[in-house]
Symmetry: C2
């Protein structure tokens, strides 16, 4: 008999799920396509069956202790996914309420994907001994999570950590949120694409990327061009890191963290993004903090980091709430 | 016999101290001139005698439970005042260590002035029922304190809350910290003075303030001119509020507070500063937070607010540490 939790990472394209034991081993990870389910009820029914099947397929008996979910725009307090632009389910999806119907005897806890990543880093990754740190996820947008004195900052309504929407420039680039000049319009996979196109139109240097349309261009292509010495691609990373560094110096001034972890697709560009970010942060930082804050990549290696994070959330929650959630009791 | 704590508010010019009972009544408040003591040891000896004298002068016997101190650049973890630009004691002053020699049987706790104000607001003021709020103090500089889930954010080294040093403009106004473009160079009593002079040099409108030198000008004079309809003075408040509002929208995106309290000299300008700040914050805020965050003045009325804050700090600390600090035991 193995004690485990279910970790679920909901993304716009894929949902990954797997069993995570207390030591942070993923016993098995599978995935389903999120975007083939226009109806959330069909999605949750399918996911439930898949999880059951996964448990049944293991040779050892599994004692499931809880379910942890990381989702875009996930609200920890309400257990909801709210107005997630990258998901097909519009409005407010009462995930925890609906999912508990399939697992009435288990605690189900949900938070947003950046928060889940932060808990993963805290429980199994590079933040194991840290009490104050920040996680930045650079994907389609920019997500963030703040850990203060060992606890996630959720704020009054559970929506803290929207660093992607601090202002870089008044009347700057239009953001999906409706505002202008938000950080994620500059610093994200989409942001660096916009920056690259801005450089293309202001400069003359040759670049293979001049032959790629805006629709075709990906941040991976910019990274590949940069590794080949493309000056415009490198400039795009420089500018992206400079802007991120200024905002990280603000984050340090407010929360005085020990470290900032940078995760997600764009973080795979390594020194191309880490170096200008670090330089810009140190240049702009309040002097008392100079040299005190580490900028680090995730220490959760591999494809299963987000599932591990969701699993860590469940383990952490179950420990905290073990008195409330006696077996068979769900509220 | 009355139980009370000593609240001490150290400022660049005056130090106020007084006895504060558990209900937040100041039994008596006196002051000494901070800046007449170039040597910290002389200051602390004098302050100790004054406090003893204050206790002896009361008709009822006082049972002092602890001492709370709010000081510029005060470090809660270390009990030190570190490199405070407005104090004559340079370097790192080990306040708590030295002051405990005079009061060996009492717990002494110190934090920075904005943190003390936040605890005052939480214990006796407008944040009594709040778990997530921010305090901004607008004096010579801009101080701030962040309360998350009922606790002050101190950060890794005890220096969290330096909102005065987030960046407004790359290569902007020179700041006392050595950086350029920090928020407090625009939003503070000094900041609005600099803004007013900038307006004077770019515009033609008549203003009585054209007859005042930079050295003579105070934020109170700008406020008085604004009340009399001076267009340039009003514009200075508009600009100050607009910049503060943008940064408060960033603060909301990161910490999702219920309210933001604006305190200090410049807050006395009332609607002149509150209105443009509120408008700008709402304009720039991440949509999910629109209309959810109150901007409020302090509910600690009168001259003794800072002493009350320091007293509240001691009460809070003593409650938390009552097991550690048994009577007669000091460490």
């Amino acid at each position: 008999m193995i004690d485990a939790v279910v970790g679920i990472d909901i993304g716009g394209t894929f949902t990954k799920y797997g069993l995570v034991d207390k030591k942070g081993q993923c016993l098995r990870v599978n995935l389903i396509k999120t975007d083939q389910f226009v109806d959330f009820n069909e999605f949750s029914e399918h996911l439930h069956k898949e999880i059951q099947g996964q448990c049944d397929s293991l040779s050892e008996e599994i004692n499931i202790k809880g379910i942890g979910v990381g989702a875009p725009n996930g609200n920890y307090y309400r257990g909801t996914i709210e107005h997630a632009p990258n998901l097909k389910w519009k409005g407010i999806v009462p995930f925890v309420e609906k999912f508990k119907k399939y697992f009435p005897d288990l605690p189900v806890v949900l938070t947003n994907d950046a928060n889940a990543a932060a808990i993963g880093e805290m429980v199994y990754g590079g933040a194991k001994n840290m009490k104050n740190f920040v996680v930045i996820t650079l994907g389609t947008g920019l997500g963030s999570a703040f850990v203060v004195d060992g606890n996630l900052v959720y704020g009054q309504d559970g929506f803290a950590g929207e660093l992607g929407h601090v202002n870089v420039e008044q009347n700057g680039r239009i953001c999906t949120c409706g505002n202008k000049g938000c950080l994620e319009t500059y610093v994200s996979a989409t942001g660096i694409k916009r920056t690259l196109f801005n450089i293309l139109c202001t400069r003359f240097e040759k670049s293979d990327l001049r032959n790629v349309s805006f629709s075709e261009l990906t941040s991976e292509m910019i990274y590949e061009a940069a590794t080949k010495g493309d000056a415009i691609a490198r400039e795009a990373f420089e500018i992206t890191g400079e802007i991120l560094g200024v905002k990280l110096s603000d984050v340090v001034a407010i929360t005085n963290p020990e470290a900032i972890f940078i995760l997600g697709g764009l973080a795979k560009a390594g020194e191309f993004i880490f170096k200008p970010t670090q330089l810009s942060m140190e240049k702009n930082i309040f002097p008392v903090f100079r040299g005190t804050v580490k900028i680090l990549p995730s220490q959760l290696k591999g494809e299963n980091a987000a599932v591990l994070g969701a699993g860590a959330l469940a383990w952490k929650e179950w420990n905290i709430q073990s008195k409330r959630y006696a077996p068979g009791q769900t509220s």
